[in-house]
């Protein structure tokens, strides 16, 4: 790798954005999960739900915090690293992100405090409302950011005059050709992520024979959500595949690993390739015969387009796109299998006792995060060499910052993010090891909790403070 500023800027952005997306994926999913759980608790008044709520609330809070601080970085990085992109695209994506901040970040921030620390200060219904508002905030945030990113993938509704971009039609900018397919894809990815996190932790406790009531509920809820969501996700993914094929053929050509104008017939489905971008061929390819034709063309001998249909100076790097796609798709197949097995075992009433299945769930705990990262690599590396598809090349967008400074800040980012990630993992591991029963304030959950929820506690607090003076 040569140390030119463009490469360093891109590596820095790729690193910070990859790190960031892990946390919103969890937060979007867990926020919705927490809203559902608190709703169930309010409806049934079953203390078990509250136990689950409190347990995941801690992990959610931590992940949300990391997501916020790494997200602030991104909102400035457009300008720090890609000044010309910001100057050109600002009029289109700027207002969208501004509206994201206004409608979502403030909503989350305003109600997060109440969600985390307000149990003693507001009633349970208002607290539930706060949880719902946080979940709504994460949903709106995803919606705006997917709209902005989809506009970069399939720009619409704008014109370029005198080198400056002018919005002609906002509806076309927002509702660009891919937004309404990519948004549900990302949302269900986030909800799948949360489902597998919850099921995985429950399975771990079942295997250890600890916290059994909590564990059974977690496995039951997690696998149920996962089964519904993965079925939907396969369907949405298929639609998205067709949409991208139409609007960004170069991405999908790279994603399947074929170079020639047309793939061989019948086309295999590759799982491992060693592409040679210069020679425009694969040095090595391993796949399942016929499967490519069957999956991609729904016939036994159909052919698929290869990357040579796109001129070399407009091609993405095949290796990154291909493996991003294969990671996402491979994990999705595993998720589908596990979800199907869970339905079968539920039917046979062996969901909590099949140790092999529980072990699978434990392994699958972070699967949603892995698949989401793979999917975003497909989306972002597949758009290259463009930062705004067809409008602005990534290398033309970089800021005038010297390579030495970029390298220094990249190292700083890596060190600090590694430190934060280590602390986060240690923290989550400790919460999981400690288990739900000794979670903070758990003592109150056994019936006396309703008292704790009453706002009169506020008076006690202010009385304390008054005495303190």
């Amino acid at each position: 790798m040569n140390l030119n500023p463009a490469t360093l800027t891109r590596v820095q952005f790729a690193f910070t954005v990859s790190f960031h997306i892990i946390f919103p994926t969890m937060s979007i999913g867990l926020a919705m999960f927490l809203a559902v759980i608190e709703g169930l608790w309010l409806k049934t008044r079953d203390g078990l739900y509250l136990e689950i709520y409190r347990f995941w609330l801690n992990i959610f809070a931590m992940g949300f915090g990391v997501g916020v601080v790494t997200g602030i970085v991104l909102s400035f990085e457009f300008g720090l690293g890609f000044a010309k992109f910001a100057q050109l695209a600002g009029p289109a994506i700027g207002p969208m992100i501004a509206l994201e901040v206004l409608t979502s970040f403030f909503l989350e921030a305003g109600f997060l405090g109440i969600m985390l620390f307000g149990m003693h200060r507001v009633g349970p219904k208002l607290h539930f409302f706060a949880t719902c508002m946080v979940a709504l905030g994460t949903l709106l945030s995803a919606s705006w950011i997917l709209s902005a990113n989809s506009w970069m993938q399939t720009p619409d509704g704008v014109a370029v005059r005198n080198g400056r971009l002018i919005v002609v039609n906002w509806w076309h900018v927002l509702n660009n050709p891919t937004w309404l397919v990519r948004l549900p894809h990302m949302l269900s990815a986030a909800y799948l992520t949360a489902s597998f996190l919850v099921a995985g932790v429950g399975a771990r406790y079942l295997l250890e024979g600890k916290h059994l009531a909590f564990a059974k509920k977690s496995v039951a809820l997690g696998t149920a959500f996962a089964a519904v969501l993965i079925a939907g996700q396969v369907f949405i993914g298929d639609i998205l595949y067709g949409t991208m094929l139409k609007h960004q053929p170069s991405k999908m050509q790279a994603a399947e690993g074929f170079w020639g104008k047309e793939s061989p017939s019948p086309a295999p489905y590759y799982w491992v390739i060693v592409p040679d971008q210069k020679e425009q061929r694969n040095r090595f390819a391993l796949g399942i015969p016929y499967l490519g034709s069957i999956w991609l063309t729904h016939s036994l001998h159909g052919r698929v387009e290869g990357l040579k249909n796109t001129p070399p100076d407009r091609q993405p790097i095949m290796g990154m796109v291909f493996y991003g796609f294969r990671i996402m798709y491979g994990v999705a197949i595993l998720m589908f299998s596990v979800a199907t097995a869970s339905l079968w075992l539920r039917w046979k009433r062996k969901l909590f006792t099949s140790r092999w299945f529980l072990r699978c769930l434990v392994v699958m705990t972070p699967s949603g995060i892995v698949a989401t990262l793979g999917g975003w690599y497909l989306a972002e590396t597949g758009r290259q060499p463009w930062v705004i598809f067809g409008l602005l090349r990534t290398t033309d967008a970089v800021s005038p910052v010297p390579a030495g400074t970029l390298l220094a800040t990249l190292i700083a980012f890596i060190c600090i993010y590694a430190f934060v990630m280590a602390a986060f993992l240690i923290f989550v591991a400790r919460i999981i090891r400690r288990g739900p029963e000794s979670a903070p304030a758990q003592a109150e959950a056994s019936g006396s909790l309703k008292n704790a929820f009453r706002p009169q506690v506020l008076d006690r607090a202010s009385a304390d403070a008054a005495l303190g003076r």
């Binding site: 809070a61 931590m62 990391v66 916020v68 790494t70 997200g71 602030i72 970085v73 909102s75 400035f76 457009f78 300008g79 000044a83 010309k84 910001a86 100057q87 050109l88 600002g90 289109a92 700027g94 207002p95 992100i97 501004a98 509206l99 901040v101 206004l102 409608t103 970040f105 403030f106 909503l107 921030a109 305003g110 109600f111 405090g113 109440i114 985390l116 620390f117 200060r121 507001v122 971009l165 919005v167 002609v168 906002w170 800021s399 005038p400 910052v401 700083a412 600090i416 934060v420 602390a423 986060f424 240690i426 923290f427 506020l458 607090a461 202010s462 304390d464 403070a465 008054a466 303190g468």
Partner: protein, 330 residues
């Protein structure tokens, strides 16, 4: 209607909210390093925990408003301020995660508090550097930054860094005076009695030196002499009221005076910079995005901002009164 001007007002509002709100947050963070008792530190942090996230959101709002309404300025300023902005973001990041980690890892609380304090100080200083660099002026060619990323490490921006840190410490001290109980009374009083004079001294020095650093400033003073004198007078009166109300009732008075003092400072800066968005270089109108972009941004802002302010106020209202000494879970 003059849309870029309205967008600029919105950006100014965001930055004012940010400085006032995160200002006291960062000030409280910086003061952690001076407080040796863990129980007192817990109390200090409890006073800002429920609302810090919303306070910091105004920073993103400011940045993104700049991107949306003045993309040309955004693209010039961020590369120019590359180093202080990145260091600030990293410092804010470490500080942000310490909020959660310190409460979850009791054994390492001391270390997290140290990170929290250092992160707060570094973030405040970087914001001062940014202010200083803006006032001394960034090099612009066409619509791109043409200077060196190290331009902001000259003596004048460094002086601004000290000034901003002192200002935030004053706000933080006022907040603790307002929100915390007897436990921290003595500490708060001592802090305010030292930090306020330091702030006034560095601020005055900055103001005087700025004339020789940036010729544009002298010109603005000539043009708006009465206006700027009034603003300076307001600052001074607010500072005197603040000093006089330390350790007296009502507890909120120093904070109110501190807010007026800093807000007056921001108004003064706005007068100096107006009508430019890249100070002394590029005007609002030359840097602005097209009409439909401004309309979209402003429509959203006009509709949503009142709601945002309402529930932000509600969040403060829920946690009103003195912060309980046992924390929010107690």
């Amino acid at each position: 209607m003059n849309l870029p001007l309205l967008s600029a007002c919105f950006a100014a509002m965001s930055v004012t909210f940010y400085v006032l709100l995160d200002g006291f947050d960062l000030g409280v963070g910086a003061l952690l390093l001076l407080e040796p008792h863990e129980k007192s530190r817990d109390h200090m942090i409890d006073s800002i925990t429920p609302t810090w996230d919303g306070n910091e959101t105004w920073l993103i709002m400011t940045g993104v408003t700049l991107l949306a309404a003045f993309p040309i300025a955004y693209g010039i300023l961020l590369p120019a301020l590359y180093i202080p902005v990145i260091v600030m973001l990293l410092a804010l990041g470490l500080r942000g995660v310490s909020f959660e980690f310190r409460s979850q890892m009791k054994r390492f609380r001391r270390r997290w508090d140290f990170i929290f304090g250092v992160g707060s100080i570094v973030a405040a200083c970087m914001q001062g550097l940014i202010l200083g660099a803006l006032l001394q002026g960034v090099s612009v060619e066409g619509i791109a930054f043409s200077g060196s990323v190290f331009d902001c490490f000259r003596p004048f921006p460094l002086l601004c860094a000290v000034c901003v840190l002192a200002g935030y410490v004053v706000l933080g001290g006022c907040w603790l005076h307002f929100k915390t109980a007897a436990l921290l009374q003595e500490f708060t009083v001592r802090t305010l009695r030292i930090a306020l004079p330091v702030f006034i001294a560095t601020f005055s020095a900055t103001a005087v030196i700025s004339f020789s650093i940036q010729p544009g400033i002298g010109a603005v003073w000539q043009m708006h002499f009465i206006l700027l004198t009034t603003v300076s007078g307001t600052m001074l009166v607010a500072a005197l009221i603040l000093f006089g109300s330390i350790n007296r009732r009502p507890d909120v008075r120093p904070f109110a005076a501190g807010v007026v003092m800093i807000a007056a400072g921001i108004v003064g800066l706005a007068i100096l910079v107006f009508p430019n968005i890249v100070p002394f270089r590029v005007s609002l109108w030359d840097a602005s995005a097209s009409r439909l972009s401004q309309i979209f941004l402003l429509t959203g802002a006009v509709i949503v901002t009142p709601v945002v302010l309402a529930y932000s106020f509600f969040a403060y209202w829920v946690f009103r009164g003195k912060t309980p000494e046992k924390g929010w879970d107690g």
